[in-house]
Amino acid sequence: MASTIRVRAISNGDTTEVQALIQHPMDSGFVKDAQGQVIPAHFIQQLTFEHGGKTVFVADWGPAVSKDPYVKFAFKGGNKGDEIKIGWVDNKGASDATTAKIQ
């Protein structure tokens, strides 16, 4: 199955800009379906980015983050061709991870 994580990591001289878009419902637990049943909360809690064995960014998310969540940040260092590792875990214990190369 294809990864839920889409990443774009671009090297801008001495910093690397990272954008990630993740396929995830991010259900808040406040919404009811057409039958009036509450759709249970289902959202990514933590998203971690690693480069060269070092954590470069951690996102602690609640259900107020939009569906198919997006985040953008930048870190110093990183060269074209380097690998970035990205992984998330959600409130149901599911997880996904992927790697991406810096362009």
């Binding site: 808040s28 919404v31 954590t55 960014f57 951690v58 939009s66 953008k72 940040f73 930048a74 959600d90």
Partner: protein, 163 residues
């Protein structure tokens, strides 16, 4: 596959007893040796996410008060095109930033997202948040042990929680 869990054993126990069994799922990620995190709050702040008001969430997350600072630049729309996906970003000229977080005052739980900024990472984040209705969005930046903030009111005409 065996791997070093990024959390210390003590924290793992605390998390387990707090019922956050889900986070043990992080063990499924092959991240190699535990990174040395500069951030003091490297565990998932479950309790902070449960708070209702901005003030309570900030208290639980940081345990400090914040002061407004023009060095924190919060970018959010005047009128959200749709409350479900509001692009909000923060950038700052402050140094030694270890944490950036976003609070939406009229959401059921004010804390929307919190970001850990290790040394070497630029103190700037862009994300997309849900807003239930027109209210203040507050960004907090933790720098040099103190909290700095910026606030902006964002008008929401169609609530973002799916109603």
């Amino acid at each position: 596959m065996t791997l070093a869990h990024p959390f210390s054993a003590t924290r793992r126990l605390i998390l387990q007893s707090a019922g956050s069994v889900a986070l043990l799922g992080l063990g499924g990620l092959s991240f190699g040796p535990a990174p040395a995190l500069a951030a003091a709050n490297d565990k998932y702040p479950e309790d902070a996410f449960k708070q209702k008001s901005d003030a309570d969430a900030i208290k639980v997350l940081y345990g400090k008060t914040h002061e407004a600072s023009d060095k924190v630049k919060l970018d959010a729309p005047e009128i959200a095109e749709n409350g479900a996906v509001v692009p909000i970003s923060v950038t700052t000229t402050l140094t030694d930033v270890i944490s950036i977080s976003f609070f939406v005052s009229e959401n059921p739980n004010a804390l929307a997202a919190s970001y850990q900024i290790p040394a070497g990472t630029v103190p700037s984040v862009a994300n997309r948040l849900k807003m239930a209705k027109t209210c203040n969005v507050t960004a907090i930046v933790e720098s040099g042990g103190k909290l700095y903030s910026a606030v902006k009111e964002v008008k929401v005409t169609v609530g973002g929680c799916g109603g």
